[in-house]
Subunit: 614 residues, 2 copies
Amino acid sequence: MEKVNTTERLASLRRLMKEHHVDVYMVPSEDSHQSEYIAPCDGRREFISGFSGSAGYAVITHEKAALATDGRYFNQAEKQLDGNWELLKQGLQDVPTIQEWTVDQVQGGAVVGVDPSVVTAADARKLADKIKKKGGEYKAVSENLVDLVWGKQRPARPSEDVQIQPVEFAGKSFEDKLEDLRKELGKKKSLGFVVSMLDEIAWLYNLRGNDIPYNPVFFSYAVVTPSDATLYIDDSKLPQDVKQHLAGKVTIKPYDSVFDDVAALSAKSFETNGQTETKQKFLTSTRASWALNKALGGEDRVNEVRSPIGDAKAIKNEVELEGMRQCHIRDGAALTEYFAWLEDQLLTKGATLDEVDGADKLESIRATKDHFKGLSFDTISSTGVNAAVIHYKPEKGACSVIDPKAIYLCDSGAQYQDGTTDTTRTLHFGEPTEIERTAYTLVLKGNIALERVRFPKGTTGFALDTVARQFLWAEGLDYRHGTGHGVGSFLNVHEGPIGIGTRVQYSEVSLSVGNVISDEPGYYEDGKFGIRVENMIMVKEVETKHKFGDKPYLGFERVTMTPHCRNLVDQSLLTDDEKKFINEYHTEVFEKTSKFFEEDSLTMAWLKRETAPY
Amino acid sequence: MEKVNTTERLASLRRLMKEHHVDVYMVPSEDSHQSEYIAPCDGRREFISGFSGSAGYAVITHEKAALATDGRYFNQAEKQLDGNWELLKQGLQDVPTIQEWTVDQVQGGAVVGVDPSVVTAADARKLADKIKKKGGEYKAVSENLVDLVWGKQRPARPSEDVQIQPVEFAGKSFEDKLEDLRKELGKKKSLGFVVSMLDEIAWLYNLRGNDIPYNPVFFSYAVVTPSDATLYIDDSKLPQDVKQHLAGKVTIKPYDSVFDDVAALSAKSFETNGQTETKQKFLTSTRASWALNKALGGEDRVNEVRSPIGDAKAIKNEVELEGMRQCHIRDGAALTEYFAWLEDQLLTKGATLDEVDGADKLESIRATKDHFKGLSFDTISSTGVNAAVIHYKPEKGACSVIDPKAIYLCDSGAQYQDGTTDTTRTLHFGEPTEIERTAYTLVLKGNIALERVRFPKGTTGFALDTVARQFLWAEGLDYRHGTGHGVGSFLNVHEGPIGIGTRVQYSEVSLSVGNVISDEPGYYEDGKFGIRVENMIMVKEVETKHKFGDKPYLGFERVTMTPHCRNLVDQSLLTDDEKKFINEYHTEVFEKTSKFFEEDSLTMAWLKRETAPY
């Protein structure tokens, strides 16, 4: 990680700011679709600041430049930012948020500019209000000024081929999905839905892409009205079979034409309906960009809602659920093979392996499995103190050698055509300390309690968060992250709207049969060790003796299929019920995955040992 | 419960509506302070409709009259409403809310009128928007039209003497409370706080009243600015010692003058500050009336916030906590004496007692206890099927005889000068059914789990709700009410902002050391039986082995001191830990309350039997 000299880039940007009559220019990390991961061409904040972490926000005035990031990246930012930059350590006391810092720069009618395609309409409104109160102006500058500075050095927008996700994996034709969506639009009395989230478009049309690392999506927009469905995408990305797949049902138009098109659609409907209070509007998701909102005519002509596609996507159909089960068996086998190999290398062969060697080996094993398409996120392969860094990413040359006498935490996942995986196991190949054993066992108890909990339909992930934390809390321990996130079906490994944790949105959406979600309590001691135990679980209806309120009672099916570490368990902290539950799980893991190791005696022996009953 | 002939009242009201150019007139249940209980003079909704339930909303047009209430009161409303009224059963499918019904009456410029002092500013804004969208107008009619119809028959506004709550019970002088409040106002850069909630005024000035049943409050408003504190109250309510108590610190002005006063204050500050965006504003609680908001100059000149007094009041000081402990010992002894007496009457004496006889006996025992001031709410004394009615209130002549072969549920509380109590015990004097035993034990397990839970500072009551429900959920059982509510200190038995349950506001306020809250899971089978187990608990810091995040870990101290029923427990469902916990509790109950029964061998024998170890 080197410092980047940004003097020239900033000088060019400031010249452009003057030309565009902008006093303050904001450069967020997001792309035009609010994607969690971005393509290199959208790395404007990294280009202008030199800081390459995943989360950050740059703001440039004619005199100053500030880069805001959170605690995960303070060290990295200090290493990468040159003298032109002020680092705003978000979350520390007395450090302003980047929005506050920006508002503070507004003096006597200053103009704050931003590319309206990379901020959400809601965020823009909030900031515009604050800037206006200080007497300034928040201005949409449609040309991205950083792109102009970047010029020919800017990577091209990815243009990978789009592929069909066949109904045999998707479980439902895109025509049926369109029909369902149109019913929803009818209920909401909406003119149509303008879709901006890439995973929603991929899901809706049963297509997958390769434009963004780890997320099998493609750059596009979509508009669905009662009569029409349009996909805005560069034609060059569509092989003949994809065109055939969509033919007659979905109109294809160029990616960039979406703004003019929705402006025309909205204007037309507005003329037809007149300016009555009850006029129908277009829907966008609350995460649609300010640019899209403006094109539709502004907030008065748009209903910003939780996406009906996001809601539908989160409820997997039977084919998707079965795909999840199947890919987790293959993925669990890959993890088991890796852990057996790693133990053998470290303890028997005395090999020196660094964290990246481990991650690479795991990927190479996964790559042999059916339907493997790639990883679903950067593998967290972390030894000892590194395991305490929740979003640790080992880099070749800068990472640690795996210490057989310390904890090893591995959080990893893959994309298979039949599903997406995400599993964490924490192992110890030597003699754990007492606190490591205690903390591991309390984390495991929380993981199990969540897998076993039953709850009436209507219960939210907010209400279940405590179930996973209760054992840690009783000992004065806790973890500073959520307990679970929704997972896509051969799509993004993080998907809303559901989750288990204390975010407000998790209190707004009930868990439903078909939800796929992670269950990942943890415990971290900075500079010492970290623990996380993560299984994927799926919401199912459960049989209960009673059924109060005549509504379904729900619970979870576990699909992750690799053993929990034995060496870290303090059996005295487990109840008989918990031991029985683990034994049943391990029996299932053995039954479902041992076939992979019939000719691999090393892994088979490891699996037998690890799944032996308590 | 008889039908009331409302024909004449409605005719008079409609004449007045014409005079005031109002087409639709709304009559909510609330008084000008959004009190949970109201004084008889504020029972306008009951007067105009004949319906006497605690929750309801009447709306009258020139042709129609509608009364909305919820499921608790459908039967009662059907009995009490005469032919002039349409009953809107709130919560049933396809039944409009009263607001929707009102908006539906708005045709071609219709005017909807309401007394702006009995609706909150926020509710008024919402409804005004909807009415405006239909082309109508929402109009504040400052004279209450129902009062004009009621005329001389309307009861006088209570004018009971106000009393001092001495620092020996309040734990803090009102001068100190004012200083704290002014610090809060300083932090919020506010011009002052206009206080409208009666319990907040009583708490702030260390005064108590007797104007509203069960709530020791008095009709008043208060305004606190950096330099002044004013109490708006009718002078006749203030004995000399109260005037002395306030003298030199608090200005006393007539109750009705608050509106003119705050209008003048706001106008003056507005002139001084000028019309800049950053000008300072007055604060009101989000539950302040539309009338008060209008007097202050409307929403642009007021910050509506969660009341800083409400927040401070919810955190009891050491004196208040000790008062809670002490009054619960006396109150627990009263309950124990009552339960022993009741069992003896029913089983040994073969007495015939109805539910009101029971409630009266309990009140007479409580009345012998030190510092007793009255009940804190209507005693729920319910036998058999009546126990399934969550807000059951037995009425002499219409209630049931207590059946010694059925469940008996008693939810009751009292006001003592040192604290407020609220306890539910569910008993059975005969042979419970299997489901009664199972359900009781699952409810008890939830009650205990909540009392035992530990959690880091920052955790909300929303996050803890599941702790009390988990055992019921596992068997497909649940209850349709919250798990806990805040309780005042010789004040209202229900007080915000904290609570344990799934209401949004409970996710917005963390539990803090000094909170006093109820823990009352239950289970109800309509037409069969009901169970509730309620203890009062107080948030305290707990010692944990570790202390992750360097923040306090919290738990609960239980203060309710009367045994849990033995006869309803299925011991096979209790863990050893739970039995130990109950045994420890029962030992404490015996130690703290047996002194009351040294000359009462009947109660002593009952207490010994009920607190014997498992």
